[in-house]
């Protein structure tokens, strides 16, 4: 079985300040890790993913996440947030078994950027 824990349900942060959204996972097999973003009344958009290789992955809009196997974490960070980053962020873990993947999502973290 696998699980994802996002401890912070809401994170308020001032514009241009740094932010970290925490994600911890549990799995008995090797995993892929993802961050998705959801804007109000929309579906989920893939923000970034870790499959293999470098443990630091980046998105095109300034977010980055680092895979830490020893701490089973995949925290999302951005050095300077914008108003447009206000959204809900979901961490997800995928285990690849038997030719297909099983994806489990966390409960989400609402990022509120304050002007």
């Amino acid at each position: 079985a696998q699980s994802v824990t996002q401890l912070d349900s809401q994170v308020p942060v001032f514009e241009e300040a740094p932010v970290e959204l925490r994600c911890n996972y549990s799995s008995s097999v090797s995993v892929y890790l993802f961050w998705y973003v959801q804007y109000p009344n929309q579906g989920l958009q893939l923000l970034l993913k870790y499959l293999s290789g470098s443990t630091l992955v980046e998105s095109i809009n300034g977010f980055e996440a680092e895979f830490n196997k020893s701490q089973t974490s995949f925290h999302l960070r951005k050095p300077s947030v914008h108003i447009s980053d206000t959204a809900e962020y979901f961490c997800a873990v995928s285990s690849h078994s038997g030719g297909y993947q099983k994806v489990t999502f966390g409960t989400g973290t609402k990022l509120q950027v304050i002007p």
Binding site: V4, L44, F90, H96
Partner: protein, 112 residues
């Protein structure tokens, strides 16, 4: 390049009724997964279809069923609707066992 298309976008049904939701995957994708996202919750896995067969299923009752067509599009059917079935239903497509889903915008189902 069209992404994942879901229809309808919104739906209101009465308790006990049946509903069918539709999904067209992203071009080139052959696997469709369905998720239920209740208000304030993360997406919960319902089931996944590949080669017109259900190959994974989450912890959902048999009232939830699905189908995948030869063109890879998919339907989610829910029978005997309950108030608790009110949620955003998300369809995600991928290529075989590949990592990373492309999500549709979802169908908002309200059961009254």
């Amino acid at each position: 390049d069209a992404g994942v298309t879901q229809s309808p976008t919104h739906l209101i049904k009465t308790r006990g009724q049946q509903v069918t939701l539709r999904c067209s995957p992203k071009s080139g994708h052959d696997t469709v997964s369905w998720y239920q996202q209740a208000l304030g919750q993360g997406p919960q896995f319902i089931f996944q279809y590949y080669e017109e067969e259900e190959r994974q299923r989450g912890n959902f009752p048999d009232r939830f069923s699905g189908h995948q067509f030869p063109n890879y599009s998919s339907e989610l059917n829910v029978n005997a609707l309950l108030l608790g079935d009110s949620a955003l239903y998300l369809c995600a497509s991928s290529l075989g066992g590949g990592a990373g889903y492309t999500f549709g915008s979802g169908t908002r189902l309200t059961v009254v």
